[in-house]
């Protein structure tokens, strides 16, 4: 039984068509993104289905999925907050931002709040060094942070949840 939707399966096939004939392996990363968007995270059933769709050895898909940090192998919160603490952010208080979020959310990096709203992660350089310190929520940037700005952001995200 497929675990991915027909639309996702079709998109994966379409992604494979972007690459030269016989190079469908190139579509493994786009396919994993599509599968992840559909299934939330890449559990073994999802990986198996991606392997079948692209006619790849399952281990190949597993190897790729575990190599790259943006492929989620386990369930996570509704909002993933990635805080950069790498050198440029470190110099301008990245760790203070992270510590503030740990206190505010009551979780450590790598953990998810019990209500499933937030997953907090410490990240390597996110490429916003001249606007440090930064974080991303769902890969959208929030820059030149202060603890006040971070609190406002969390309030906004909580509000969004309450509305929805």
């Amino acid at each position: 039984m497929p675990v991915l939707s027909d639309a996702t399966r079709a998109s994966i096939r379409e992604a494979a068509g972007q690459y030269p004939p016989g190079r469908q392996k190139s579509a493994v990363m786009p396919a994993l993104y599509l599968a992840q968007d559909d299934a939330g995270h890449l559990n073994p059933e999802v990986l198996r289905e991606v392997a079948e769709l692209l006619r790849l050895a399952p281990v190949h898909v597993a190897a790729v999925a575990t190599f790259y940090t943006m492929f989620e192998k386990a369930p996570h919160g509704k909002h993933i907050i990635d805080v950069c603490t790498c050198v440029s952010c470190q110099l301008l208080g990245g760790y203070d931002i992270l510590a503030h979020l740990e206190r505010r959310l009551g979780i450590k990096p790598g953990e998810t709040t019990p209500d499933g709203r937030f997953t907090l992660r410490e990240q390597e350089c996110l490429g916003s060094c001249a606007s440090a310190p930064v974080l991303q929520v769902g890969y959208r940037f929030h820059e030149e942070l202060t603890t006040v700005k971070v609190d406002a952001l969390i309030d906004e995200l909580l509000q969004e949840g309450a509305d929805g």
Binding site: P44, V59, A62, T66
Partner: protein
């Protein structure tokens, strides 16, 4: 002609040819450059960094395993600076995971250990990391212990490059990297074909044979090549002996057919003996098998065979194993055919050959494809053939074709086959309805490619009378599958059709005829070469049996049945059971005290695979000769000695009768 080059390595002039790496040239000239991730069977990895050397004119160090050797190059492979770097690399490796040698199953035959001794590693200056990693013991034949792994990737490469399956890979990255199977499942639950090539290439104790831990110390090991008696590919292997006993089996680089690749059967199962050996001859007396000496048993055998020669007491039937060497098969055949005047001499599984022969008689002999053609095929049609089960090495080659080149395989078999997992499409007709499927395919071929004019009207009509709907009804396969199978076949430029025991054992030569028709049809319409067909049988020496003249046996009314089974695990079918019960007397020459023994009146000990030498001829006609690897237990005589003795006694009886 390869271009000759000369380079200097550590001051020594070394010769090689263009295209070789610095490491290869060094080795060929007897110089040692230490390596860990490099292996002659595998592609270059360049990851361990042990083989770094200095090349004059190059700013950075290069890895000898990857760097092309150039004419005039000046290479330094050993100096203090390189030694320090190698020591550091080893120190890093030793701190990484648990490499406490005394507790490792492979201590003594470990390349990491060897390198450490060579480079005087006495301790590591850093805290051991030793992550907690659980050994995986779920594979029946070998253990994977991640604690001993140095992430050299040899197993991963061998799994993909040699075994073709790609079960193993690297999960995660950096220092978190770990070798995984499939989606991270235990090996025993994975797609692993248990060929054991990864165990052969592993430089440490991260992969080791369950049978031989702490046993295979390098000292006192001996290696002798031998052949796997199982299928007709002619797979040769290296038997590793310790004190004259088989310690384990390894891939043999020089094996002409299979290279280092072996199947789980030739590497592991062959070492399992399900029944005790027959150590002494036995003769049935008052309904009981009683141990006797050789003379008595041989006399009894000759007597039984002699009685039937007059024809008064019916005929002798001989059935023999196709695993035996050519010489033994020939002696056996000579004894029965020439000395006993017996016409019913065959092998177990003789039906496989008989069907093919009948097809030859009916439809003429056709060119069969060789391994080369299979390697180059762009489409493979398997009919009644499950190579992944019966011919695992061929199965691995096909897996490679599928995984590396995307070659489509279509499988038609009434059984649930392992090869179906590799197939892009598999059709499972009801047993006995295979012919309908083949007609359906032929019909589709002339339909899809407009080939009606190539065959006569009647034939064309016959084929057209099997439209997919009818095939579906008769054979229980999906209509669309028939259409697609024909389309895949018709689209290929170099397709091959391979059939196997499941087809030949039906005893229906018409099926083979249809395959040849399919081949000819496509040959007419632009397939670049002659489309080729090839049948496979079980038993390593089936081709030799055919050459010698084993031609089929009628068991009906047999007075004496002489079975030479050796160590063949003969499939005791209900029919064979009945035939043996009905026979006047049964002579059994067998290595094992198996289920056949109960039917025997005389039991003669026989050799097992490692004890016999001789010549084997594979399915493509390639002959290979091997010597025995081990000695038979005391008291067991070689099969040929036994056959000669029987022959001599028989002549004596004959002469006595004449006088």
């Amino acid at each position: 002609m390869a271009e000759l080059i000369t380079l200097t390595i550590d001051g020594q002039e070394c010769r090689g040819t263009k295209g070789m790496t610095i490491l290869q040239v060094a080795k060929e000239n007897g110089l040692d450059i230490p390596t860990l991730c490099n292996h002659p069977w595998l592609t270059t990895h360049g990851g361990c960094r042990m083989c770094v050397v200095e090349v004059e004119g190059q700013r950075r160090l290069v890895t000898a395993c990857a760097a092309p050797a150039e004419d005039g190059q000046i290479v330094v492979a050993h100096n203090d600076r390189l030694e320090t770097l190698r020591q550091m690399t080893l120190e890093l490796l030793f701190a990484e995971r648990n490499h406490i040698c005394p507790f490792c199953a492979m201590t003594g035959v470990c390349e990491l250990q060897d390198r450490a001794y060579e480079h005087h590693i006495t301790h590591t200056r850093y805290d051991y990391i030793f992550p907690v990693l659980t050994p995986d013991t779920t594979n029946p034949y070998f253990v994977q212990d991640h604690n001993r792994c140095i992430l050299c990737g040899r197993c991963v490469r061998s799994c993909y490059e040699i075994a073709g399956v790609g079960t193993l890979g690297f999960g995660h990255r950096g220092s978190q990297e770990v070798v995984i199977a499939d989606l991270g499942v235990p090996l025993g639950e994975s797609s692993c074909i248990k060929c054991g090539t990864c165990v052969d290439v592993c430089p440490t104790g991260a992969l080791f044979d369950k049978r031989a831990p702490y046993f295979s110390r390098a000292r006192g090991l001996e290696r002798k090549p031998s052949i796997c008696p199982d299928d007709d590919l002619g797979c040769a292997m290296n038997v590793v002996l310790k004190s004259g006993l088989v310690a384990r089996i390894e891939g043999w680089t020089e094996a002409p057919v299979n290279g280092p690749l072996l199947s789980y059967r030739s590497r592991y199962e062959i070492l399992n003996e399900p029944h005790p050996r027959v150590l002494k001859p036995r003769v049935r007396k008052d309904g009981e098998l009683v141990e006797v000496d050789w003379a008595e048993a041989l006399d009894a055998t000759a007597e039984l065979l002699a009685k039937t020669q007059s024809g008064a007491d019916g005929h002798v039937v001989g059935l023999c194993s196709t695993r035996l060497p050519y010489e033994t098969l020939a002696s056996y055949h000579r004894l029965l055919a020439e000395q006993c005047g017996c016409v019913d001499v065959d092998t177990f599984r003789g039906a496989q050959r008989a069907t093919r022969r009948q097809a030859d008689d009916l439809y003429g002999t056709h060119k069969e494809c060789d391994f080369e053609a299979i390697q180059q095929a762009d489409m493979v049609l398997l009919v009644g053939f499950d190579p992944c089960t019966t011919h695992p090495v061929l199965g691995a080659w096909l897996a490679k074709k599928v995984h590396h080149d995307g070659v489509p395989i279509v499988s038609i078999s009434p059984r649930t086959t392992k090869t179906a997992e590799l197939s892009i499409l598999s059709l499972k007709p009801r047993r006995g309805s295979e012919l309908a499927v083949l007609y359906g395919l032929l019909g589709q071929l002339i339909e899809q490619r407009n080939l009606g004019h190539l065959v006569d009207r009647l034939t064309a009509e016959k084929w057209r009378s099997h439209p997919p709907g009818r095939v579906s009804y008769e054979a229980g396969v999906e209509e669309q599958a028939v259409v697609r199978a024909a389309a895949l076949y018709a689209a290929a430029k170099n397709p091959v059709i391979l059939y196997g025991p499941d087809l030949t054992e039906t005893g229906n030569p018409t099926l083979i005829g249809r395959l040849w028709e399919m081949a000819q049809l496509l040959g007419h319409v632009g397939a670049s070469k002659e489309v080729m067909v090839r049948g496979f049988t079980t038993g390593a020496n089936s081709a030799a049996a055919e050459q010698i003249g084993f031609r089929g046996a009628d068991m009906e009314g047999a007075a004496v049945v002489y079975l030479l089974s050796g160590d063949d695990p003969v499939d005791l079918t209900p029919q064979l059971r009945q035939d043996l019960r009905d026979a006047g007397a049964v002579i059994l020459q067998s290595a094992h005290d198996g289920p056949l023994v109960q039917y025997a009146d005389v039991v003669l000990p026989s050799l097992k695979w490692s004890e016999r030498g001789g010549t084997w001829i594979n399915v493509m006609g390639v002959g290979q000769t091997f010597e025995a690897c081990t000695k038979a237990p005391a008291g067991i005589k070689p099969d040929e000695w036994v056959l000669t003795e029987i022959g001599e006694r028989l002549s004596a009886v004959k002469e006595a009768a004449h006088e």
